[in-house]
């Protein structure tokens, strides 16, 4: 458990936590949202390893976000940990239910059905005028162990929380990848029928992965809801899902840490593009995606793997 990788990963996260107060405030907020989204991407990586790319992760993202927002609005629950736990359970349940249907499909149809389900949620939210329809509504500030951070402290508190949860998620997911179920992802992608001949149910396996991905996406959505302070139906729209898939390609399926790096870089690049190219930033983003696909098809994670290979080659 205390492998070199995990220790170094932990150190990187701890370094981030310590460095936070020294970093510019806008960067901290940007990183908070980036890491919240990275959790969704992590879930996508789990599924992509098995050869599946859902185009509707926004369904779980929105579920988690609206769960905490609704609780904040209609109940007195404010404790951030309790709210996150409820969001995780809620989105996990949705993933569990939806999985019975979704796990039977593959490839493009998996992607399209997942998209359809997220758009149905979108439609329901838009139609619900009491929840503000497309305007959405405000997310009440959360408390940390009963204490409400004041003003400037709130951003920092959210950042610490998000980084801590990211570290936990990264750790758990890399543990999962080392288990049999996790390792089976690649064989499932390559040739399902042989796995079934081994006596394992591929549908069940995928169902489980869906629940994992859905829970991660729900927690990411909840964290994003706290960070932005607002939820709206657009969180369930297909372009939101598209954004997550975009980052997943940037990250690559190979590494857990790459999900966080890629998400952060994406937010940063996007902000820079909007800053310097106010009318044409989409060209810039599209080009970045294109270049990544053409020159780094395995994503950012593969950069590190190349270092590793070179390192190994040098060893006598």
């Amino acid at each position: 458990m205390w492998t070199r990788t995990n220790v170094l990963g932990l150190l990187a996260f701890v370094a981030l936590e310590i460095a936070a107060p020294a970093l510019p405030a806008w960067l901290v907020s940007l990183a908070t949202i980036a890491f919240a989204n990275a959790l969704v991407v992590l879930g996508l990586v789990i599924l992509w390893r098995a050869g599946l790319v859902p185009f509707g992760q926004a369904l779980f993202y929105a579920t988690g976000a609206y769960a905490v927002a609704l609780l904040g609005r209609y109940t007195g629950i404010r404790d951030v940990f309790l709210l996150l736990a409820i969001a995780a359970v809620a989105s996990g349940c949705v993933a569990f239910l939806v999985g019975f249907l979704l796990a039977r499909y593959r490839e493009i149809f998996f992607a399209m059905l997942s998209l359809a389900l997220s758009m149905i949620l979108y439609g329901v939210l838009v139609k619900t005028e009491t929840l503000g329809s497309t305007d959405g509504f405000h997310v009440e500030a959360a408390t940390f162990f009963g204490h409400t951070p004041q003003e400037g402290g709130r951003e920092l508190a959210m950042f610490w929380l998000v980084v801590a949860i990211s570290a936990l998620a990264a750790f758990l997911v890399s543990l999962y990848f080392r288990t049999v179920a996790g390792a089976l992802a690649v064989p499932v992608r390559d040739n399902e029928i042989r796995i079934e001949f081994l006596g394992l149910s591929v549908d069940r396996l995928i169902h489980f992965k869906l629940v994992l991905a859905g829970t991660l996406a729900g927690v990411g959505g909840a964290l994003a809801a706290f960070s932005v302070g607002h939820v709206d139906p657009n969180m369930s729209y297909w372009t939101t899902s598209g954004g997550f898939v975009f980052v997943t390609i940037l990250a690559g399926a190979g590494s857990v840490a790459a999900a966080f790096v890629a998400s952060f870089l994406f937010e940063l690049i996007r902000s820079i593009a909007v800053d310097i190219l106010p009318g044409t930033w989409q060209i810039f983003l599209g080009s970045v995606l294109l270049l990544t696909i053409l020159f780094l098809p395995e994503g950012l994670g593969s950069l590190a793997t190349r270092f590793k290979r070179r390192g190994q080659a040098k060893a006598p």
Binding site: P24, W26, I33, V228, G229, V274, T305
Partner: protein, 440 residues
Amino acid sequence: MTYRRKWAQSALVALAALLAAGTAPAPAQQPAAPPQPIKIGIVTFLTGPAAAPFGVPGRNAAEVLIEALNKGKVPAPYNKVGIGGAKIEVKYVDEAGATANTVTEYRNLVQRDKMDVVLGYVSSGNCLAIAPVADELKTLTVFDVCGTPRIFEEKPRKYIFRVNPTATMDNVAAAHYVLRKIKNLRLYSGINQNYAWGQDSWRDFKLALGVLAPKAKSDKVLFPKLFSGEYGAEISTLLTSKSQVIHSSFFDGDLEAFIYQSTARGLPKRIPIIFTTGETSIFRLAKTITEGTMIGARGPHAMLAHETALTKWFRQVYSDRFSQLPVYPSYHMAQSLFGLKAAWEKAQAKKGGARPTTDEVIAAFEGLEFPTPSTTVRMLNGKGHQGVTDTAYGTFHYNKKTRQPELVDVVYYPAGCVNPPPDVDSVTWIKGGMKGAKCK
């Protein structure tokens, strides 16, 4: 996984963070003698379907006004250079993107770019999301186009101002105008976009009619998807209805598509339509719009403006630069900018010419009354943070002699007639019979 790989990844993260910190612009050097410029971040739709109707006309107006202001060429009472003698430095940011991105960009404007004021926002969803952040970051923020009453009705805001009235005004006035044009209204229908703006517009219109004409009933209530663009089924439904009027808060793209498609099938000839935000299409669709169509401009703007020297100047300077007349989003931007200027200069005067703090500008802005190219604005509602104005509706007429479209039978509704009184929320006010409305 090896040591080297993990190290490389952590290094990447650190490098990215350093790069980002490094790219943050250095704080501007203060010039010694001339007053420190005032930095305004203007956020509006520069891409996407809302760019053509709102974002670009708004941005154009801002460009032309800020240029004139910095040269001191604006007519009185706005003839001081820039704002209070200090030049305006403006940065334009695209509003397009998810709410999370909009909030991120707002934080970037305030924390990274050190803007003094942020102005803009077309989408009500964005306005609602930004409002608490503005209070958190203690930055003066002026909302421009977004029309939801929720901004100030949900809770008081210290740092937010909205010069332009809410959508409630448009739809209550529409109800008045419809009743004036159609005697003995019994049945009406509506086609509005299926999102907050459309839903709220219909609700306010219907509630207002409920008070002013209790015997009238709604028949077909249609909510096609936003940006759907294809209204065949909706038009058929309306054609088979016996309604006497149709209400619509469609804007630009959808508005124009609906006008083309409904005119081709003779709908507006059979049932008159009232477009609460139809002004933007009067010139572009002059040959298509049916006589008798009722048109609003979200306030007395463009053709409906009260003509003053300021009005003439604005129209001239805008059309000289952009070869087309300004439309109501341009007037909205003008109102917001002039309101800001008026408040700032008032606060400055109170301080004997020294640069006011944000709190001092806020104090001056609250309850302020000031002229704009359209009309006079009074910051009456939302504890002095929400502006109210009068409004107007007119009926479309194509003048064959001059070959120009016109609005005839124009009726002005005073601010007190169509805006809720201070500190009563709009829905409660309408439902309660619109008490206190002064319509003469």
